[in-house]
């Protein structure tokens, strides 16, 4: 069964790109345009992976991640953060918080696909080990 990926990104053009690339590669893609919708979608659909934009109106990516971590059923979902900030402090903050990985915008589709494949593989390994 195709892995289900939730894309939480406020920029419609980027959602369009990510959605198109992921669907073309056979993933089951869900999209959310802000943090609140994204959290609701995560709770409802339990995706295998979340792509999470950092800078969004309303609750930002860091806060979304914190709320995911507080949820017993969602905290194990791997999260890849998408950041246009590219400032080390922000990236280090994401890493310290425990996100699975991050991609700095602009990124190439191949880098995105490689990061997703890696995160899904690690999550599978963890599940098998436990």
């Amino acid at each position: 069964m195709a892995a289900r990926i939730l894309v939480i990104e406020d920029e419609p053009e980027n959602r369009l790109l990510i959605g198109l690339v992921l669907r073309n590669e056979g993933y089951d893609v869900l999209e959310a345009e802000d943090g609140t919708t994204g959290l609701a979608s995560a709770e409802r659909h339990r995706p295998d992976l979340i792509l999470l934009d950092v800078m969004m109106p309303g609750i930002n990516g860091f806060e979304v991640y914190e709320r995911l971590q507080q949820h017993p059923c969602l905290r194990a979902i791997p999260v890849l953060m998408l950041t246009a900030l590219a400032q080390r402090a922000e990236i280090e903050r994401a890493v310290e918080m425990g996100v699975t990985g991050y991609l700095t915008k602009p990124f190439e589709p191949n880098d995105l696909l490689a990061a997703i494949a890696g995160a899904l593989a690690s999550a599978r390994e963890r599940r098998t080990a436990s």
């Binding site: 980027n14 590219a86 400032q87 995105l112």
Partner: protein, 328 residues
């Protein structure tokens, strides 16, 4: 003694307050400032929010008699609120630029790249050529934004340089391998020579930034070196420093231009730069990074023979750990 300006920044009314009879709030601030200020090193800062925002830079000077007997202390307070506000506005602007310009570039680069891979159908030659141009220029724009942000952050001192032992040869190897395809395109030999006779080539610094320096310097050398030329990185320890040199057999830089090459936006020949796609910021970034490490950088060149850029980094004492060999 206390002057009227100091009374003002402490929140007391200079017309009404007497130095010996400060209001309790001003006295508390004065004591806090005296406690925060240090006699040497970087000046301390304190910030108050009430009744309005006030940021003070503090210096404390110990006053002594000619015989060295302590006489008291002089507290110098400078109101840097406005400077701080301007700095914050600049930082906000930089974050905005970073976000607002990079976000649309994600779609431009992403879609053009995906189309070029043929993932959305095959392309005619003319379509491919047009898309390659879009993709190339978008990458160039991304590099320019990145360079601008780096210069701005480094110059405002907002970039943190780590101080960790870094195996410079490992970093250089990695950078060389990343750039090898570019060198191979024009049959340029890309070499690394590490001299360990005078000690381990381990610097104390920021691995990622050192890699950025080498990438910029090697990128420049490759741009300006003709087909079948040679670009070499030489590394060695010299006393308490690590000496790094990037040497090429490129077109060289005229002597009168050499003092200007580390200036921002400097371009030797605009035509050449346009052809090679530079931003004119690469060497300014390199210089800032090297100096932020406490190192020096200089350049020697001869037109028609080549260029040698040398820089130093502080050597790590002994060899506690080598830098990570993993890719980032």
């Amino acid at each position: 003694m206390i002057n009227p300006a100091a009374l003002r920044v402490l929140g007391a009314d200079p017309e009404r307050s007497h130095p010996a009879d400060l209001p309790p709030s001003a006295l508390a601030r004065l004591q806090e400032c005296l406690h925060a200020a240090t006699p040497s090193g970087d000046p301390a800062t304190v910030e108050y929010r009430e009744p309005q925002r006030c940021v003070l830079q503090l210096r404390k000077i110990e006053l002594r008699s000619a015989a060295g007997r302590p006489l008291g202390q002089l507290l110098h307070m400078r109101d840097i609120t406005r400077e701080r506000q301007i700095d914050e506005m600049k930082n906000d602007f930089i974050s905005l630029v970073s976000h607002e310009l990079r976000t649309p570039l994600t779609s431009i680069l992403g879609f053009s790249s995906y189309l070029l891979q043929g993932k959305l159908g095959s392309l005619q030659d003319s379509q491919r050529m047009a898309l390659e141009s879009v993709h190339r220029q978008a990458r160039r724009l991304a590099a320019i934004i990145s360079d601008f942000l780096d210069v701005s952050r480094i110059e405002s001192g907002r970039i943190e340089m780590k101080k960790e032992p870094v195996a410079v040869a490992t970093v250089a190897e990695r950078v060389i391998e990343d750039l090898r395809p570019q060198a191979n395109e024009r049959a340029i030999r890309l070499e690394l020579a590490v001299d360990t006779d005078h000690g381990p080539v381990v610097a104390l610094g920021d691995e990622q930034r050192i890699a950025q320096v080498l990438t910029n310097l090697l990128g420049n050398s490759l741009k300006f070196t003709d087909k079948e030329g040679l670009v070499r990185v030489r590394l060695q320890r010299q006393g308490r420093e690590i000496l790094c040199q990037v040497i090429d057999t490129g077109c060289g830089i005229p002597a009168d231009e050499l003092p200007k090459v580390f200036d921002r936006f400097y371009q030797v020949e605009k035509v050449v730069i346009r052809k090679t796609g530079g931003t004119g910021l690469g060497l300014a970034i390199v210089k800032n990074i090297v100096e932020a490490h406490g190192g020096r950088i200089w350049i020697e060149s001869e037109v028609g023979r080549g260029t040698q850029v040398s820089f130093t980094l502080p050597a790590a004492e002994e060899i506690p750990i080598t830098a990570s060999a993993t890719r980032h």
